[in-house]
């Protein structure tokens, strides 16, 4: 992957916005205006990648939600970027009947089925608008890229938990569909490894089948043709490791200490956007809508922010002291140099203003995080959990921390106790009263009890020990994932427990196929279930440690500890 997934997705989006033609480099080209219409999925995909200003530069005058009230705007082409669900199709048919726009460019985020296409066709016929539907495309972009090496699948409906079989099938189908879109955009067919006996295996089987079907159909395979020639400078295929959330339940609950993970844990951080309230709480403001309350501030933490890119993985005290001061000094030195030369001062003024804005942004965010840390004594939790997870000696008793009234919210205490419960071999039961006194909700505990019993049966010991990477980096929880990646990337010893899928192979049996013996240069780690920034940070540090290997992290949804606890309590109440 010479270009990262984010660049590829951005290029695909820009091409789509240019009426599905490659954008011209000519800067003084005639402006063509258009209207962009998306649904919630499309909005989630576009908002981390393109800013409103970039949309304007591409000629998008209005961007609207599909299910909002839209007025007819004559003589304007409209670009639709939606998922092919029933209600979206119905709304599109309604738009065709109401003749809202002059021409329609339909782009479906994942492949649309024939019957739904016929629904649109009949609506277009009925409204005599067939000539207006200019282009219909399947974009295969059903995933959200947050960073250059991190992606997630679904951002909506995170609260829904269901354990019925049909729902599980539906959820897995969506996951497989999104992963398929991911690999189509990447332009590479991976080799799939997954552990046995859990949801990850089922996803891997389905994904393998889908890739195989697509490759076998040589005429219209999405992986042949110019794609391979243009995008494959490395002749290796990436390694795709699937992991299940069940393997490690402690990491999502862990209190963190790096900047990005802290922001995700403590503040409202969704899709690279931080929302901080001065007054009452609120929902994150979606792209394109103006914030409803005057005292709520939103900040976008993007790739263009150099300070953010440099410090998002560093521990918080480092960020606060060295980072911000360094930036301040840089800005002040710029100022003092420029008083001597007027013209250069005027020209570098926008740069200075931008730097000032970023410094203010990060100061506010860091201050908010610091307030939370102070009020909830998160550093105490962090140290204690680190010790728990690395099985070193504990200097304070757990009961002290739980009964301490001003050390954190009941949720924090619950998290600490759950981590203790997961990592300790035996747990005395006197903690229940202490927890109830502190006001914690005990339903997550029921679920964890079930899970622990289940994993004990499956006899895979959870290994949380350190691996020789610096102890300041939190790596204890996701050790198993990293072990898998390490072994498979370096091929030191086969993790024979893991199944092996190669969609390019013609035969389906796995025992006798020759395995790819070369060490892999790129790996994609995907967690089925909730993922979080702690694991992402660990993988990034690990990739930096091993020169020349690229690791991409993905998860089916990104949940911080609070949301994870909610899910656990919902499961525990069942």
């Amino acid at each position: 992957m010479a270009a990262s997934v984010r660049e590829k997705q951005t290029v695909a989006l820009k091409r789509m916005l240019n009426f599905n033609a490659p954008p011209l480099k000519n800067s003084a080209a005639e402006p063509v205006w258009k209207v962009l219409i998306y649904d919630r999925f499309g909005q989630d995909i576009i908002s981390p990648l393109l800013t409103v200003k970039e949309l304007r530069d591409m000629g998008i005058t209005l961007h609207l939600l599909l299910h909002s009230d839209r007025d007819p705007i004559p003589e304007v082409p409209a670009i639709f970027f939606v998922m092919p669900t029933e209600e979206n199709i119905d709304r599109i048919c309604q738009d065709l009947r109401n003749q809202l726009y002059e021409s329609y460019y339909m782009n479906f985020i994942s492949a649309i089925s024939r019957s739904k296409l016929e629904d649109i066709a009949s609506a277009a016929l009925a409204a005599n608008a067939v000539t207006q539907v200019t282009k219909v495309y399947d974009q295969y972009l059903n995933f959200i890229t947050l960073e250059d090496d991190m992606f997630t699948l679904c951002h909506q409906n995170k609260e829904l938990i269901s354990t019925t079989d049909t729902d599980m099938e539906a959820i897995m189908d969506t996951i497989v569909d999104s992963l398929f879109c991911f690999f189509v955009t990447l332009g590479a067919v991976p080799i799939i490894r997954c552990p046995r006996g859990n949801a990850a295996e089922m996803v891997a089987v389905k994904l393998d089948k889908k890739l195989r079907e697509n490759l076998r159909d040589a005429r219209n395979s999405l992986f042949t043709g110019d794609n391979m020639a243009a995008g494959q400078f490395s002749f290796q295929r990436p390694l795709f490791v699937l992991a299940d959330r069940n393997v490690d339940m402690a990491t999502p609950l862990h209190h963190t200490w790096t900047y990005q993970a802290l922001i995700h844990d403590v503040l409202d951080y969704q899709l690279n956007r931080v929302v901080m309230e001065e007054g009452a709480g609120g929902d994150p403001s979606p792209a394109g809508a103006r914030p409803k309350k005057k005292n709520r501030k939103t900040y976008d933490l993007t790739g263009a922010d150099r300070f953010w890119q440099k410090h998002k993985g560093s521990p918080f005290p480092e960020v606060a002291e060295s980072g911000l001061e360094g930036e301040d000094e840089g800005a002040i030195s710029m100022l003092s140099d420029n008083t001597a030369k007027l013209t250069s001062a005027v020209s570098s003024l926008p740069e200075l203003l931008e730097k000032k804005r970023l410094i203010d942004l990060h100061t506010n965010v860091a201050t908010a995080v610091l307030d939370h840390i102070k009020s909830r004594k998160l550093d105490v939790y962090f140290e204690y959990e680190e010790k728990l997870m690395s099985k070193s000696t504990l200097d304070k008793s757990l009961l002290d921390i739980i009964s301490d009234p001003d050390a954190g919210t009941p949720e924090d205490k619950m998290r600490l106790f759950l981590i203790y419960y997961i990592t300790a071999p035996q747990v005395p039961s006197e903690y229940k009263t202490a927890l109830l006194d502190a006001g914690c909700d005990l339903s997550p505990l029921n679920y964890i009890k079930q899970w622990k019993a289940f994993t004990k049966m499956a006899a895979t010991p959870a290994n949380y020990g350190n691996s020789g990477v610096k102890p300041m980096v939190m790596n204890s929880g996701s050790q198993l994932v990293m072990e898998g990646v390490k072994n498979l990337v370096l091929k030191q010893h086969e993790t024979d427990d893991y199944r092996y899928f190669d969609p390019k192979m013609l035969r389906g049996s796995e025992s006798s196929i020759p395995r790819n013996k070369n060490p892999f240069q790129e790996a994609i780690v995907f967690v089925v279930g909730g993922g979080n920034y702690i694991e992402y940070q660990n993988l990034v540090d690990y990739a930096k440690f091993k020169q020349g290997k690229k690791v991409v992290y993905g998860c089916s949804e990104l949940s911080n500890a609070g949301q994870f606890i909610k899910q656990l309590s919902q499961l525990g109440q069942k």
């Binding site: 590829k8 695909a12 091409r15 789509m16 599905n20 800067s27 003084a28 005639e30 402006p31 205006w33 209207v35 304007r56 000629g59 005058t61 209005l62 609207l64 007025d71 705007i73 004559p74 003589e75 304007v76 003749q99 002059e102 782009n107 492949a111 649309i112 024939r114 296409l117 016929e118 649109i120 066709a121 277009a124 016929l125 009925a126 409204a127 005599n128 067939v130 539907v133 200019t134 282009k135 219909v136 495309y137 399947d138 295969y140 972009l141 189509v184 955009t185 332009g187 005429r219 219209n220 999405l222 042949t224 043709g225 110019d226 794609n227 243009a230 003092s336 008083t339 001597a340 007027l342």
Partner: protein, 358 residues
């Protein structure tokens, strides 16, 4: 039975034919997937499904809407915002093409002795300048007019926002084209200035050529201001060219007038340069003074801090002193009571002894 079968089989065969035709379409359109895009163009598939739906509707007997609504629909957009906006854009594009087309000729240095046919005369260049400026002004007028119209017209908020954004885009485009023009112009002016600098030997010849760069130098490339120079220059050059192609045949009065104007402009420029230099010096001083102030303020801050500490210490001491005094008073009072008691006891004992003795 036979008659029943007949229409059925016909329908079946029709259906089969439809299916195979649609399959054929499908296969064709699938073959034309554009791989470089990584997105699949299913427009042909869509058209195929339209055909199937049409034939299906015909078979079932649903009548299609007659195309009489077409005429009404088509006549709606004739009057409106969009054609006017498109017209403005085509005009700007025409201007851009024109500028680009003649750019090479415009910018060409061309020595004065060459008689190349493609070389543009200064007259033509100035004509181009003038025309381009008038054109740009009319375009920006048109944009402003459209904006007012759009504001006045009562329509939904979305349409208003859309129209505003469209006009912004057109303005940006116009600005880009203006930039092209001003770049061209700047190159031309620079060339003139260089020419003037290089050939200072022949004063009269270059006093005339000097006219053109002087007015151009002092003005920035704003449309309103350059209008003056544009009107000046064609007049001058027109007069000169009218009088003949040979430079030496200028009348002495004209030469004198030009020289005077020259002097005036030079002095103006010099004064401007002086002023700018003065301002620069002042601003530098101001910044230096500000630095000094900041330093002093910081210094004072430390001093104030130390004073604050001292004052805090002093208040503490005073408080302690008060406590001590209070205790001392208490002690004093207690001591006095004891003395009194002792004296009273002594006197009582004396009295008692006296009484006892007597």
């Amino acid at each position: 039975m036979a008659s029943d079968e007949q229409p059925e089989s016909r329908e079946n065969s029709q259906r089969r034919r439809r299916v195979t035709s649609s399959l054929g379409d499908v296969s064709i359109c699938l073959q034309r997937c554009s791989f470089t895009d990584m997105a699949v163009d299913i427009t042909l598939l869509f058209k195929a499904s339209v055909k199937t739906v049409k034939t299906r509707n015909k078979a079932i007997g649903i009548g299609l809407d007659s195309p009489k609504d077409d005429i009404f629909k088509r006549s709606r957009p004739k009057i409106g915002f969009s054609p006017k906006a498109k017209e403005v854009i085509t005009n700007i594009t025409k201007l851009k093409d024109f500028l680009l087309q003649h750019r090479k000729d415009y910018v060409s240095a061309g020595s004065l002795i060459s008689s190349d046919l493609t070389r543009m005369t200064d007259n033509e260049r100035d004509q181009i300048d003038q025309d381009a400026q008038i054109f740009m002004r009319t375009c920006s007028e048109a944009i402003r007019q459209l904006r007012n119209e759009a504001v006045k017209q009562v329509s939904s908020a979305q349409v208003k926002e859309h129209r505003g954004a469209v006009l912004d885009l057109i303005e940006v485009y116009l600005r880009g084209v203006c930039k092209l023009y001003s770049e061209q112009r700047a190159i031309r002016v620079k060339r003139m200035v260089d020419k003037k600098r290089l050939s200072r030997l022949a004063p009269e010849h270059h006093s005339r050529v000097g006219k053109t760069p002087e007015p151009m130098e002092e003005k920035t490339v704003k449309e309103e201001s350059s209008e003056k120079s544009v009107s000046e220059v064609p007049n001058n050059t027109l007069n000169l060219w009218e009088e003949g192609r040979v430079e030496d045949e200028l009348s002495p009065e004209e030469i004198q007038m030009f020289e005077q104007e020259n002097q005036r402009l030079v002095s103006e420029m010099n004064s401007l340069v002086d002023e700018v230099r003065q301002i620069e010096g002042k601003v530098v001083e101001i910044s230096r003074l500000q630095e000094i102030f900041a330093e002093k303020v910081l210094h004072q801050e430390t001093e104030i801090d130390s004073i604050h500490q001292l004052v805090v210490g002093a208040t503490e001491n005073v408080k302690e002193g008060n406590e001590d005094i209070r205790e001392a008073i208490k002690n004093n009072a207690g001591f006095r009571v004891w003395i009194l008691f002792f004296l009273v006891m002594c006197s009582f004992s004396l009295l008692f002894l006296d009484w006892y003795d007597s």
